[in-house]
Symmetry: C3
Amino acid sequence: MQNKSSLLTLKEPDTKKKDLRRVKTHPDFWYPVAWSHEVGPGKALDVRFSGRHIVVVRPLDGLPYALDGLCPHRQVLLAKGAVCSGTLKCRGHGLTFNRDGECVSSGLAADTTSLRAKTWACREKDGLIFVFMGQQALANTISLPDFPRVRDPNYRTRRFGRVVNCHYSFMHENLMDMNHQVLHSKLVGKMKPRFLGMERGENFVEARYTFARTGGKQPLSEALIYGQRRRDGRDFAYRDVMTIRTNYPYQRLTIETQGKPDPVMDLWISYVPQDRDELTNRTFGLLSIRRLKIPLVLDIAWPLLVAFTERVFFEDREIVELEQKAWTELGGDHNIEVFPVILALRNLLLSQGISEPA
Amino acid sequence: MQNKSSLLTLKEPDTKKKDLRRVKTHPDFWYPVAWSHEVGPGKALDVRFSGRHIVVVRPLDGLPYALDGLCPHRQVLLAKGAVCSGTLKCRGHGLTFNRDGECVSSGLAADTTSLRAKTWACREKDGLIFVFMGQQALANTISLPDFPRVRDPNYRTRRFGRVVNCHYSFMHENLMDMNHQVLHSKLVGKMKPRFLGMERGENFVEARYTFARTGGKQPLSEALIYGQRRRDGRDFAYRDVMTIRTNYPYQRLTIETQGKPDPVMDLWISYVPQDRDELTNRTFGLLSIRRLKIPLVLDIAWPLLVAFTERVFFEDREIVELEQKAWTELGGDHNIEVFPVILALRNLLLSQGISEPA
Amino acid sequence: MQNKSSLLTLKEPDTKKKDLRRVKTHPDFWYPVAWSHEVGPGKALDVRFSGRHIVVVRPLDGLPYALDGLCPHRQVLLAKGAVCSGTLKCRGHGLTFNRDGECVSSGLAADTTSLRAKTWACREKDGLIFVFMGQQALANTISLPDFPRVRDPNYRTRRFGRVVNCHYSFMHENLMDMNHQVLHSKLVGKMKPRFLGMERGENFVEARYTFARTGGKQPLSEALIYGQRRRDGRDFAYRDVMTIRTNYPYQRLTIETQGKPDPVMDLWISYVPQDRDELTNRTFGLLSIRRLKIPLVLDIAWPLLVAFTERVFFEDREIVELEQKAWTELGGDHNIEVFPVILALRNLLLSQGISEPA
């Protein structure tokens, strides 16, 4: 584990000059914009990325595709239109676009061939629809993120998320900073975290923790995740390792416990900016939990686990939205960060994102 | 019919420099601000014109009049006050104004003769109350708009309208551009418009269309308007002429059908800016429909016609509000217009309205 | 009584240059921020002063205290935290602050002793909690306001107030200007005010009025306040003296009637700016009414009096919020004041408040 002073000499960003909450998401990555089930065959869905409207279209047969969400003619929201086999017809004047953005017909008594809808690279994977909003020529050179446990029969995965009213950086910081256990004490009891160390590289920061329960009882949901009931604090003391890693722009949290080769939990999460100022994000999470030895136990207990994780997410959301609200009221970042991991994470997000010229 | 290139050489406005959606309504015309029934005897009503409050007062006897809507003393909304025979008494301190805007009494222990409410020329005609918001000296030189069919016993008139959240120019363009039939296809079936040509002058643009139904059935409401049931598309093909004319600042739409001397429908419509930026308008429409030969048929079917026209208006409203929303989000006009009629109309609205200095 | 011209030569403020509605409350006074009952033992309450969050904490034992409302670490709202005996523990990361603002413990794996919460001088008196938001060194040199009748058994006091959406100056002007009786004519009948004169000094303006009822009947509530039923206008004519005094920053209204040594009514009122622009205020009022000779009559009639005063306050609120709305719409002050008392009051508020540099 590096100590604070060495970290601070490692070219920390001048956060006094650059406000992290004004740093924009780097677009040269694949970002999820919708769940597959939200865009059924013959449907079109309006989604946002950093203030831009994108329409995701799934033809009656064929792969989904993405176009600029506003009609090039008069900027009517294309998602209001109709999907006719492979094309999308605008509700305003019937301009009809194919998956290449070409206007193939219209109700206008005029030549509309010059009207093209901008196209965006689009992929579907494991129930998520991704778009690539950066330089389109790069799309094929950048890999989609991977989350193999979603397809692993030894795991069951919960897909969750919603719009959270804060800059994505608050989300990264909140998940990485396991010192906020006090927030969840009503749900999980008194947990004492022990910081095990961190690693960092050009495009990642990783922190490891272990925990001891110093008060309260283990909730049943947690026993289901760990695959074991732990009756008192001594049972629990520092036997598991939680690893949280921001690999820009995604984040991952895994829990490994003694004597098990694979993690008992593996969470992949992405925060997609919605408005132009990126002060809201839509969170997409894939939470994979390892099945227990006895079949079906996890499935039977699943609604309990869903409720438990939803409550944890609700508490986290409350805090990050308070942090965002304070930032907005104060007109800038007044955080005084003292925890080296978060300082390193802030540095990462600052250096990987897009800063507007001062 | 003029072709596109000749139109484009006819000194088209430089819409790249001037954003039509920032052009303000020219005030030197009579604008409707209320329906007569909204201002009963002894009532005062607050209305808006381009952000300004105006109070329309109808004394217990005598003609309605209009004053500035905010009390000159402390800007309390005068419409909250009480009409006492011919005067209006402010709710705040009892300052009482006559129809000439003079303060004839007050509750103040001070001289209030210097406090005058600005007066606006005001007229009532055919169930509408008009004000003249331009140079007051011009009011008597400018005619009120005329709509003789409102008084013609051969027609029945529907008065309709509401606040629509868009710049008035979107309203003009939407009504003039009959290529948007796809929007109403659920209500009226598949209608194929044929553009018959346009005329333009210093203060008007007029377009003519005819239609063929290429799919779906004629709705009953439409049969009532045309005075005839048309069983298939061939019956309908190109037998009627629809004329839409923007005679700045008003708009009119008439439908004439073969073998009838008078139009079967005559719509007069005016869009009155509400807020200072003129991004909302209150629409006032007078829709006159020619009575059928058999007496009372139109009256019996009237609720059906009201519902039909309300649904058409609802669909139009959805589109223009989407266009306005996109303009606001994008921070300016990104329309790529290809239809010559609309290019001419935009030119007209730009040249007749008030552009703010760049 | 001074006449208007002499007043106007007495160095009136240049209200054309300085907009009174942009003048901020001077912080070097004690301001009420909460009622005592809102902050029970072991509770923390978030209150506002001119846009700032303040958390008022009442330990399980001991006097209440006030800290900056946002945690110095990540600006989470401290009022969301838990009061643990004498300290306040932030909901975010468990940073725990004592009444001196020192961070005495935290869940962070880092040194947090540098994190201090700013403290604000705080006092409790007669059911109100006050803070001192100016230079803290001055707090002990400035007296809390006094309202002895709250503790006087010959009076019964109503505590009232709420957030009113206007600049505090509108509140002062509204109460001082008794020419607005027309506003309350439905509640109190037709009251004719007679202005008896004013006094002014460096930090106060005081106006005196008397009234005659020229129409309508005396409401029962008023009879309870005056301690006498007055059957006709002659009974009422000019027998009472109402004194309204703004002693910056507080305001007071007393009513004295013939033959009684003490006022029949004594109102103390304070307007506390909520948002940074000070265009909303929270009003705290202490309305003391002298008990009648017959015991318990006032107590039995109390709900009636509460309803009556609440309705008067509601009508006043409507007017001041209309005035504020007009100011906001017009983008500045367009008041044309003609009443010398209000001119003097505006001068006082301008000179005592904080004007931003032009």
